[in-house]
Amino acid sequence: MSQPSNLPRWATLWLMPVLNLFAALLVSGLVITLIGEDPVECLQLMINGAFGYPEGIGYTLFYTTSFIFTGLAVAAAFHAGLFNIGGEGQMYLAGLGVTLVCLGLDFLPGWVVIPLALLASMALGAAWAFIPGYLQAKRGSHIVVTTIMFNFIASALMTWLLVDKLIMPGSQTPATRLFAESAWIPMLHELAANLGIELPQTPLNATFFLALLALVLFYLMVWRSRWGYALRTVGLNEKAARYAGMPVSKVIIVAMCFSGALAGLAAVNELLGSTHRMNLAFTNGIGFVGIAVALMGRNHPFGILLSALLFGALTQGGLDLSFEKPAITHEMIILTQGLIILFCGALENLFQTPLALAFKQMTKR
């Protein structure tokens, strides 16, 4: 999607995203200064909160897990030239899949329930993305608008289900009952304890390894398969793809389903990995962070891993920071996420012209 540039490849792939990130953090720093805090001290507190002690690292990697899934979801659609803003809604519906399987079948052993819940999450996430995908491919409805609408419809639907149908009997808060322990995905500290290693108690769970596996599979599917070739061709030039005899509509629909299924897996990390019940706010903007993760990671699994880690650290470090500095709330992190999306996504070529000039000067000498 980016314009051809006369910069060396490493500068486009590494230097520009870093510069864009730096610009975004600089603006955040200015806002922090404006409200009377010291940005450097805040940055230190954040880094320490995210990586400075084992518990912090556990939480960082837990958030990273969800962001890998939603980031891959956005990237999958981007490769087909589609902007899927519906990750939040797809994750919400996927949570319904997980919940229905668990509420109905969690008397069964874990090795039956957990795979079924995984499949249900991917199926419902994909189904919620299928409709906008189908409408885009067959009826030309703009995917951005339909996925936004589907976020709102998902939110209305889930509120109704949680408040009226799935709520724990006798409870006032709109949340389901706790799933049976057999359906919980093992926590990392439990797995480590089996091996005799002691880790602090964090929500980091085995879904993390699934996320790493998803990164590898994503790479293989998008860059090393016939389907991935068609996907990227449709994304780069739909007319050429059609001329080459590729089934464009089918590619678009499958890409959206793939995207929705990936977003759905984030619900597994949250519900089976951490909360073990469904509540109203479990998606908590994770679907939207996926947009930032994909843009920052340039839609490549390795980039997505790094940027998901960055956003995981921002989330965890930001939480720690807000305990130390009450003036810097979670909303500061939302502002930073927005700035990163702006600089890495919409202004990705901001530094291209000055950099190109600088390189030209250097090669002249």
Binding site: L135, T159, M332
Partner: protein, 315 residues
Amino acid sequence: MDSFFSVLDATIRVATPLVLAALAGLFSERSGIVDLALEGKMLAAAFAAACVAYMMQSPWAGLAAGMAAGVMVALLHGIVSIGYNGNQLISGVALNMMVSGLTPVLALAWFQQGGRTPTLDDAARFRSVELPVADAIAASAPLKALFGHNILVYLAVLVIMAVSWVVYKSRFGLRLRAVGENPHAADAAGINVKLVRYLAQSISGALCGVAGAYLVLAQTGAFIQDMTAGKGYLALAALIFGKWRPWAAVSGCLLFAFTDAIQIRLQGSELPLIGSIPDAFIQAIPYVLTVVLLAGFMGRAVAPKAIGVPFVKSR
């Protein structure tokens, strides 16, 4: 009959900010710039209006500040989309997130009341306009719902008429539509494409500013975190629902506002034949209708041709 008029009254109150935001989106999108940032412009305006109206104790100062904040966010969207040819969709999403994050941070730093601003006194709000003549008419005729609103509601009616005149009858409107349909042809005819788009963005920001200010100065009386709650997207849906035409977009807003008003009335009550309808279903109506329309099942919604495509002057 009485309940009908109270629903009508509520419809008008809810529709006003939607109408203003939808018309704001109309300018931006007709000029060829996708406007997902309506939400952010409104929220920024609501915050600025709340702060300034509180400090100056004047609703008019608040309105002016709201419009200025709306224009600022709009120009940021303009610099990214028009100046740097950036991705307009991403810019809109980013701006919405930025404003949603920035406003509560500033509110907390400046007023120390959580993420909100202090509640405004009556003197700093727009109250309903009392006209003796209107009261006399309203007493005799079932027109109560049309009177007793605040001044911004009547202003919005004027804005609707002005917008439809500007878009279809004025020289600027012709240029606006040309730039949104075929910027290269417009450029060849000597129109400054980027300037027209920047102007359209500014108008969009100012109208969103009024919409955001309305939420604070005429409804809640204070800024509350994320108080726009999807109204910007709803306005966008109404704009698409109205096929990017002023009067049709306004009808879309009225329809959506009506579903909102009726939802409050229907809460818990039983309808003949259908039984009780969950609130959530009525809440989802506008979004479902928009999807159905976009899918081409209710006539075709054709967007301005050049929408979302950055204009690069051909040499």
